[in-house]
Symmetry: C2
Subunit: 465 residues, 2 copies
Amino acid sequence: MDSSNQDKSSGSCGCIKSIPWKIKAKVVEFTEKTKKIGQDDPRRIAHSAKVGLALTLVSFFYYFRPLYDGFGQAGMWAILTVVVVFEYTVGGTLSKCLNRGFATLLAGALGIGAEYLATLCGEKGEPVLLGILVFILATTSTFMRFFPSIKRRYDYGVLIFILTFSLVAVSGFRVNQIIQLAHQRLSTILIGAATCIVISIFICPVWAGQDLHNLASANIEKLASFLQGFGDEGSVVASKDVKSFLQGYKTVLDAKATEESLANFACWEPCHGRFKFHHPWKQYLKIGVLVRECACHIEALSGYINSKPQVPSEFFIKIHQLCVKISLESGKSLNDLAAAIKNMVHPCATETHIKNSIAAANELKSILESSSSLAKPDLQEIMPALVVASILIDIIKCIEKISESIHELSGKAHFKNNANSTITPEKQQQKQLLHRGIVKPINDANCDHVAIEIHGTCEDNSSKK
Amino acid sequence: MDSSNQDKSSGSCGCIKSIPWKIKAKVVEFTEKTKKIGQDDPRRIAHSAKVGLALTLVSFFYYFRPLYDGFGQAGMWAILTVVVVFEYTVGGTLSKCLNRGFATLLAGALGIGAEYLATLCGEKGEPVLLGILVFILATTSTFMRFFPSIKRRYDYGVLIFILTFSLVAVSGFRVNQIIQLAHQRLSTILIGAATCIVISIFICPVWAGQDLHNLASANIEKLASFLQGFGDEGSVVASKDVKSFLQGYKTVLDAKATEESLANFACWEPCHGRFKFHHPWKQYLKIGVLVRECACHIEALSGYINSKPQVPSEFFIKIHQLCVKISLESGKSLNDLAAAIKNMVHPCATETHIKNSIAAANELKSILESSSSLAKPDLQEIMPALVVASILIDIIKCIEKISESIHELSGKAHFKNNANSTITPEKQQQKQLLHRGIVKPINDANCDHVAIEIHGTCEDNSSKK
C-alpha cells in the first residue's frame, strides 16, 4: 500500500502538488477579497454583527418557556421578520418594517372580512368565493406593483399584503381561532420589527440620507478633480494619476441607481445629525441628473488629454492657455460646490470662479473673432484645442445649472450662510485691507466686497482639501 | 336637518361641488395611468393574472381535506413560496426557486447538525451553543452578501439560508419531530415552486434573455436614429421629431441597471426560442458599456443641433456636408448592427458604412490640412462645425468598437451568415451582374464581392425598417 501510494505521488507529483497550491491560492485570494470589502466600508462588518445580534435576541422566543407558552409557533414570525426586514441602512429597515406592519394589518382585516363573507355562502360556496377573492386581490395587487410610484416606495408592502391576505383568508377556512392567531402573529412581528429598528438606529447606524449627501458631494468632487487635473497639464503628462481621475468620473456616470435607492430610503428616516425631518432629498436626485450630464461632457473631453502638438504655434498656445484657465476655474467652482454640500454652507466662491471661467471663455471667443487679422492658423493643428474649448464652454453651462440647483438645495435645507455668520463688518474691513492688492475685485455691484471676502476665506478652505 | 344641509350646501357650494370633481379627476387620472401601464407592455396584465392563478391553485392545500391532512399547517409555506418567488421574468422566477430550494436544503441539514451538536452539551449548554451558532452563521452569511458576485446571483439564497438555519436550529429545540417537519415543509415549498415554474414557463412566458436581446438592439437603434436625424438636417429643422429622438438616446444612458438585472436572470433560463443554453449573455453587457459610451458622445453632440449659420461660407458648407455624410453613414452602420442583433445574423453592411464614414472623415482632415491654401476661414463661424466633426470622428471610433463587440457576439452565439446561407455561388454571380454599375465596389481584397452582395441585400433590409 505504502509503496504504491509513493509511486502514485511521484508519478503525478506535479498534479498532486498543484491541487493544494491551487486551494491555497484560492484561500489567499478569498481572504484578500474579504479584507478589501471590509476595509472599503467597515460599517459592513458592523452591519453583519448587528443582524447576528438581532437574530440571536429574537431566538429567545423559542429558547425560553414562558415566552414560548405565550406565543407558540408564532415565534417563528419574529425570526422571519428579522431576516427579511433588516437592511443595511436605517431608512431601508424602517421602510420595510412600516410596509410590513401596515400591509399586515390591512390585509389581515380584509382577510377576516373575506372569511366572514365566505361563511355566509354555505359550505359549498365558501371555497369558490375565497378562491375568486384571492385571485382578484392577487392579480390587482400584482398589477399595482408596476406603477412606478408604488414600486418605488411600497413594493414590499404590496407583497406582504398579498401574502397576508391569502394566508388569513385561506387559513381561516380551517382555524377557528383566527383572531387569537392574528394577535399572536402581529405581536411577534412587532417584536421582530422593533428589535431591528432599535438595533439599526442605536448601534452604529448607517443613514441612507447621510450616504446620499456624501455621495452627491463626492461625485461633484470627482468631476472637479478631473477638470483640475485636465487643466494642470504638467501633472497630467507626468503622473500616473491620470488613470485614477479618469476612473473617478466614470463611476459618476453609473451612480443613478444608487442615488435613487438612497433617496427612497432617506425619505423614511427620522431627523438625524444635521438633517431635519423634511430634508429635500429629492433635490439631490435633480443635482445628480445635472452632474451626470456634466460627466458626459467630461467623457467627451477625456479623449483630448495630451492633445498638445510637439511644436505648438503661437495661436495654439493662446487658445490652450485660455482652455487651461477655464478648466482650472471650472474645477475650482465644482470643488467649492462640493465643499458647500459637504459642510452644509451656502456656496460662496462658486460664482466668482464661474465668472472667471466665463471671462476666459469670452476672451477665447474674441480671439477667434479676431482670428482673421492674425496669421492664417493651421486648422488641423488647432482643431483639438477648439474642440476642447467648445466642450469646456458646454461644461461651464452645466456647472451653472448645477450651481443653481445646489443654491436651491441650500435654500430648501437652510444651509448656513458662511459669510454672514462668521465675519463681522469690522473684521471684514480688516481683511479687505489685508487682501487688497492680492485678491482681484469682482465687478458685481450687488456683492463686490462680500465676493472678495468669500474668495479670500474659501480659497483657504478649498486648499485644505 | 334638511334645511340646514341645504344651507350648508348652498353656502359652500363651490367647495362641495369641487370635492366630487377632484375625486372624479383623480379617478380619471388613475384610469389613464393604469391603461398606459397596461398598453406599454400587455405582458404585465398576463403576469398579474398568472400570479393570481398560481396563488389560487396553491390555496387548494388548505381547501381540500385530503391534502390538508397530509401537510397540515405546512401548506402555508406553499403560499409563502408563490408570493415571494414569482417574478416577472422566467429567469427571475427560476433563480429565486433554485436559490430557495438549495438554500433550504443546505441550511436544513446544517440546522439539524447544529441541533444534534447542541443536545450533546446538556440542557444548560444547549441554548448557549445554539445562540452562538446562530450569531456566527447569521453574521458571516450577512457579510457574504456584500461580495458583488454573491450579491448578483445568490443574494436571495443567502437570505433563505439564514432564515432556514435559524428556524430549524431554534425550533428543533422544541419540536422533536424535526425530520417530519422538514419533510412537510420541503414538499410544500417544492409544490409552490413547481407551480410557479410551470405557470411562468408555459403561460405567456416573459424571457429575460429575449428582453435583454431586444433591449440591446433597441438601444443601438435609438443612437442610429439620432445620428440619422442629426445628419438629415432638413427634417431636423422642420419636424417636431427632434424631441423624440433626443429623448431616445437619453434612455440609453440610463439602461445600465436594467441590462444587468436582465443578464443576471437570463443566465438562469433554459434554452428558449432562438437562444441556446450557453448563450453569451455577458457579451450583451460589454456591448451595453460601449453603447452608453457612444451615447455620451451623442449627448455632447446634441448641443449642436441647428448650429448652421444663416449665411454659411463656402468652407463651412464643405465641412458641414462631410459631417452630414459621416453622421448618416454612422447612423446606417448602427442601424445595420441593430438589425443584425435583432435578426441574429452576422452584421454585413456595417463595415461598408463604417468605411464610408472613415473616408468622409479622411476627406475632412485633408480639407483642414489644405486650409492654409484657402481663403482665411472665420474661426468663430466654423468652430461649431469643427466641433461636430471632431465629436463625429470620436463616434466613428465608438461604432468600430461596438461593431467589433457585436462580431464577437455573432461568433460566440453562432449568428447565421446572411450571405453564405442564402446565396449560392451562381446566384451570386447573377446578382453581381445585376448590381454592377449600381453598387460601388469596396476595395477589400478578402471579401469584395461578398461585400457587394451584402450591400445589395442588406440595403433592402434596412430600408424596410
